[in-house]
């Protein structure tokens, strides 16, 4: 997995609340058997009219060239609904390195963490402050310090992350390596459980 340390970038605001993973990546695009290439279908039905790449919807944020960056900022309860990890793959494949919201659905948060995509939970008021910024503002997310800063104003908030997960992200480790290293313990446990 990629290492995550500090991300400094402009941001892309998607202010809607309760964005479910069916919107992030609609079911008809889940037929691939690899993890790659989902970015082009990110927010597909919000991005294109009639599912046609020749007809981008001008008012959707990903189609506005003045908005760009590695940080996606979204309304509360982001990633609810289906457990499809394809949602995290699509966001990452599109080029985002972090997602900021005031509230994440559980499975999405795990999926993001398992793919080196950093979910950052901020307060609702901080989220609104980000939304109020002009598109040129940059945001800095420092994983080691667990802080997120609006660079133009200096406003800062600290965010929580499980210390084990933080270590994994900083070092690019994943859970599987750890679990595989526990095989013997698991076998002993199985005998006791039986």
């Amino acid at each position: 997995m990629n290492k995550v340390t500090t991300i400094q970038s402009r941001f892309v605001p998607v202010t809607m609340e309760n964005i479910d993973t069916d919107q992030i990546i609609p079911a008809r695009f889940l037929k691939a058997t690899t993890r790659d290439g989902f970015g082009k279908n990110l927010f597909r039905d919000w991005r294109y009219a009639n599912d046609d790449e020749q007809q981008p919807k001008a008012d959707f944020i990903l189609n506005k060239p003045e908005f760009s960056g590695e940080i996606l900022v979204a309304g509360k309860n982001f990633g609810c609904g289906s457990s499809r990890e394809h949602a995290a793959w699509a966001i990452k494949d599109y080029g985002f390195a972090a997602v900021v919201s005031s509230f994440f659905a559980d499975i999405f948060k795990n999926n993001a963490l398992n793919n080196g995509l950093l979910p950052v939970t901020v307060s609702e008021s901080f989220l609104q402050q980000i939304f109020a910024q002009p598109n040129t503002t940059t945001i800095t997310i420092d994983l080691a310090a667990q802080t997120i800063t609006i660079d133009a104003t200096g406003q800062q908030e600290s965010f929580e992350i499980n210390s084990y997960k933080k270590t994994c992200l900083l070092n690019g480790y994943d859970d599987i390596d750890y679990l595989i290293s526990m095989k013997q313990e698991i076998e002993i446990f199985e005998k006791e459980l039986a």
């Binding site: 069916d22 457990s83 084990y164």
Partner: protein
């Protein structure tokens, strides 16, 4: 120390507690399907591993399968390849597959319980959020992502943080025309689509205890729609008699031993929950959703909220956007509104009891001309039972179309889709934008309410027909 039902099962399955981190949780049963497993198989193969405990994995094909002519090759090429890949992966890794053509094939959350694979006290996962369904048996069951599927393949374990615990107590008797789907839609409408995020929920109380296993599964199934990791119900005699005699249920001496263990699975009187909610069953009416998340529901005879007068800006915008997508107006009743489709199926409501309920309402009646009605049994076994009980005849006489088992129009992935702009009363679990096909408008309801609309062609209070 007093423990909750959840804690009793969880504690028994913790292999190791990592300092300041998650627990390593042992998984008893792992269900897989074609959509969320291919990348996980690729992942372990890339690491040079094989599946650690193939005997504890059960596979089926459900999301991508057609519900007509299942004996023919799947027409859509990508769907066919995905199903084919599952067949190859299962073969290579010695995993039991109940694929197309197998008498046990069906929606993963329907077949696990009906085969007796799902049992009390187990930890159960699947790369599918509605794994919470299996919690109805007093199991810890939850949906996982594909990286986690890979972890379970590799080690039969998962890294999990302790969730908070919520208990929802529903006491009293249900009103006429109100069934378990209405209970869960009511709960979600009260606590919202994110109200139980971070929690594992136990459903309790006299109204829950009175329910059949099928009805309990419907409730646990939709726990995820309020954000909960999972839902569960303490097992009792109803649970035991449902399991007894099923294909993979324990038998003989083993059965006696299991029953003794299962009888210990309840929350102790002194056990503590982080949150408790009390609901009076008699307050619940038949429910229907009007919006684009399952929390946006009202009583069938209620009014769509007046979006403009909602004080919270975020919520106001949400509801306005939802109403616009749904083509509905603030402050109006949905009763009498024409619908073009009725879908009875999905892991929420495609079990035999659901179909019996529908049959008993429509018997001797005919569907409305302007409505297309699709009934999709959850599994091959349910299909067989439908025929054995002669329900298929009732459905056919009413003009309902009966399909073969699969997820069908629950999600716009296979051939069964609702056209853009049209309304569908659906017994499934999600009314998200585009869930049943791009532009489709979904109204979630119980099998009874769906059947009532099939007959009248409009949104109907089922109590007028019973």
């Amino acid at each position: 120390m007093a423990k909750t039902l959840f804690e009793k099962i969880w504690d028994k399955h913790v292999v190791k507690q990592i300092d300041g981190g998650p627990s390593v949780l042992y998984i008893d049963k792992h269900f897989i399907h074609e959509v969320t497993s291919p990348q996980a198989f690729k992942g372990i193969e890339k690491r040079g591993l094989s599946v650690f405990r193939p005997d504890q994995v059960v596979a089926t094909a459900d999301h991508n399968v057609p519900t007509l002519n299942q004996h023919l090759p799947i027409k859509d090429e990508l769907s066919r390849l995905q199903v084919q890949q599952l067949i190859e992966n299962c073969k290579k890794h010695n995993i039991e597959l109940y694929g197309l053509g197998h008498p046990f094939q069906g929606i993963v959350h329907v077949i696990g319980p009906e085969l007796g694979i799902t049992q009390p006290g187990m930890t159960i996962v699947c790369g599918d959020s509605h794994t919470s369904t299996h919690g109805a048996f007093g199991a810890i069951a939850f949906g996982i992502g594909t990286s986690e599927v890979e972890m379970v393949f590799a080690s039969q374990c998962l890294m999990q943080s302790n969730p908070k615990l919520m208990r929802i107590n529903i006491e009293g008797e249900l009103n006429k025309g109100v069934v378990s789907k209405d209970i869960i839609l009511y709960i979600i409408s009260k606590i919202s689509a994110s109200g139980a995020t971070g929690y594992f929920v136990e459903y309790a109380g006299s109204a829950i205890r009175s329910l059949s296993m099928e009805a309990r599964m419907t409730i646990c199934n939709m726990s995820i729609e309020m954000g909960a990791r999972g839902g569960m119900i303490a097992p009792d005699e109803i649970t035991f008699s449902y399991i007894k005699g099923r294909q993979f249920a324990p038998s003989g001496e083993q059965w006696e031993k299991k029953i003794a263990d299962w009888k210990e699975l309840y929350s102790d009187a002194e056990a503590k929950f982080n949150e408790e909610i009390h609901i009076n069953a008699s307050a619940i009416e038949p429910m229907i959703t009007y919006g684009t998340n399952p929390g946006l529901g009202i009583a069938i005879n209620g009014l769509v909220p007046v979006a403009e007068s909602i004080p919270d800006e975020g919520e106001r915008n949400n509801i306005m956007k939802a109403l616009q997508y749904m083509g509905l107006e603030s402050g109006k009743s949905l009763l009498g509104m024409p619908v073009q489709h009725v879908f009875i199926g999905s892991c929420t409501n495609s079990r035999i009891e659901d179909l019996r309920m529908v049959a008993s309402l429509i018997k001797g009646r005919k569907k409305h001309d302007q409505v297309q009605v699709m009934i999709v049994p959850g599994s091959q076994q349910v299909s067989k039972q439908v025929q054995a009980e002669g329900l298929d005849k009732v459905f056919r006489e009413a003009g309902f179309e009966i399909r073969q088992a699969g997820c069908s129009a629950c999600l716009g992935m296979n051939e069964d889709k609702i056209p853009a702009g049209e309304y569908c009363i659906s017994t499934s679990n999600r009314n998200f934008e585009g869930r049943q096909g791009a532009g489709a408008r979904t109204l979630l309801a119980s099998p009874l309410t769906a059947a009532a609309a099939a007959i009248t062609g409009v949104v109907t209070d089922v109590r007028e027909l019973i």
